[in-house]
């Protein structure tokens, strides 16, 4: 693969363990591999406990000290991030790799003005100072469509609504012009209409600036409209991956199908078909497929672990039914 085709971010065989109650360790992320093409948009979807947040923290080098990477590589433009020291990672963050987090209420420092918080990374990563800085801050805020940007410079976070704060954190994250931006559940704390506006902003920003976007979310619908590729995680593993159209219109894995079918709106009626049971806990060691206890189609073979299979450049699935062809789509 030439440098031009190399993905901006590539995760290979990532396995992370965490301590469990009672003193042992469990696997939170198991052999996870996926890539985000340069200038592309990929969505990482999974519920709480699927390992998606651990994965994004591992990429950023911000794993809690109790978590341990047992295996794998994370390549940023071919550079293995896991081999880097904390200091090297700290220099990378904001400049080549950046993150927008979930809770806009706590992401900003309440003691500093919006202007100073956006100015800081602009100064640090782009070397702008005094004269040019103000203009750059205003431009930054206008780029994230914050109304009356100039007036915002002197305001404090508590004077802004949740949606506005999320825009500000996005401006801060993009200030250093990173190659890759990870948005970790950026709309979970926002209400429905604000979510729409923010997602549109995110997609437009990506199209303008051409950074590689990894959108982490628990709502498949949301990811489908923003991303080109979708990776579905369950119980610490990747269970399905493909283009947004493939995954959404023709989901192969029973979990993806169930997820899409959970809440459906037809005309003016809402139909619910929840997935029975609960997602596996990190400490739960299952003999085979992690979704098997909840799967309506499970057979005996499912008690052995299925592998991730699929055509090159095509959708991949981790499911015996799909692999062996007996799962009716």
């Amino acid at each position: 693969m030439s440098a031009a085709e190399r993905p901006a971010l590539e995760v290979r065989g990532l396995t992370i363990s965490v301590p469990t109650r009672g003193g042992g360790r469990g696997i939170a992320v198991r052999d996870v591999s996926f890539s985000v093409p340069a200038g592309g948009r990929a969505g990482l979807v999974g519920e709480s406990g699927s390992g998606k947040t651990m994965t994004s923290l591992a990429i950023m080098g911000l794993l809690p000290s109790a978590a341990r990477v047992e295996a794998g590589e994370i390549l940023l433009d071919g550079d293995n991030l896991l081999a880097k020291s904390q200091r090297e990672m700290q220099r990378l963050r904001g400049k080549r790799l950046s993150m927008v987090m979930q809770d806009p209420m706590t992401a900003l420092d309440p003691c500093f003005t919006i202007g100073s918080q956006v100015a800081q990374p602009l100064h640090q990563h782009r070397g702008l100072s005094r004269g040019k800085l103000n203009a750059a801050v205003v431009e930054s805020l206008e780029q994230v469509r914050l109304s009356t940007a100039r007036d915002r410079l002197r305001q404090y976070p508590h004077q802004l609504s949740g949606g506005m704060r999320q825009r500000v954190t996005s401006a801060i994250a993009l200030a250093g012009q990173p190659r890759v931006l990870i948005a970790d559940e950026p709309t979970t704390a926002l209400d429905a209409t604000t979510q729409v506006r923010y997602l549109k902003l995110l997609r437009d920003l990506q199209e303008q600036t051409n950074f590689a976007l990894l959108l982490v979310a628990h709502d498949l619908m949301v990811v489908q409209h923003v991303c080109e590729r979708v990776i579905v995680m369950y119980g610490g593993e990747v269970v399905e991956e493909g283009t947004a159209e493939d995954v959404f219109n023709a989901p192969r894995h029973p979990y993806t199908q169930a997820l899409l079918g959970a809440i459906q709106v037809v005309d003016d009626t809402v139909t619910l078909t929840p997935i029975n049971g609960n997602a596996p806990d990190v400490a739960d060691v299952l003999p085979g497929c992690r979704f098997q206890p909840r799967c309506a189609h499970a057979r005996d073979v499912c008690l052995t672990p299925p592998a991730l299979v699929g055509e090159d450049d095509g959708p991949v699935t981790r499911c015996w039914g799909v692999q062996q062809g007996w799962l009716a789509t």
Binding site: S17, G22, G23, G24, R25, G26
Partner: protein, 304 residues
Amino acid sequence: MTANLDTPPTDTADQPPVAKPLVRQRRWQKLRLGRDLSLLVLALFVFAAIFAPLLTPHDPVDNSLMDALKPPMWMAGGSWENILGTDSFGRDVLTRLLYGARVSLIVVVFSLLIAVVIGTSVGVLAGYAGGKTDAILMRLVDIMLALPSLLVALVAAVALGPSMRNLVLILGLLIWPNIARLIRGETMALKNHEFVAYAKAIGAPRWRILLKHVLPNVMPTLLVAATLEVANVILTEASLSFLGAGLPPPAPSWGVMIDDGRALIATGWWISMFAGLAIIVTVLAFNGFGDWLRDRYDPQTRDL
């Protein structure tokens, strides 16, 4: 009883047992050096305090000038008679150390008890009630913190006279403001939790909310705060005893022992040294104990 349409067997008691975790934790990582050592030392401390008379044949206050300034047994001139040597009055150092543990234990326990009861009540009330009550109570705390503690203790001790009871009272009253402030902060943070809002919404009376919802949740902070004050108590007691405002001589207290040997560091270093070590070790042990108590008490960290 209806069928559980939305929860399958995985949710009920007949779940398959959790198999062994995949990654085994190394043996030595399970040992908690700090915690286990603390508990051991504290156990020794309590043991020494309780059984002091049985552990040593000597009397802690009897003078015997003939035996003055004997060095510890491993040095020249020392003997098994006085393992850690004697002080300038011929009193056995080890014996005074053991009896001193008693003094420290009693003083620490009772003065902390007073401080915790007053400090928690004031802190919880101020934090929960807010408004005028909070303002008044906190001004009281501020006043107490602004007073020079040693001076006040001295004056109080002179007025009340030197005794164990007065000492404990004075120390307790000196320490409670620190605890009150911490507890007030915790309470104010807790007020915002939804479970407190819920209890209020369904009509729980204030006393019940404070007792069942606020208090159990400020416990961890309280435990750590109390154990951190132990150092404060022991050292203040030593100072007071030296100034004559604490226990009257010849009572054996570690603080007094340090001061006894203060002028003799060169010739009789053992008099101060062992008492000093005893204080350091005990204070550290109490801190470790506080950590253990807090972890043990919190259901979330209990099994970790």
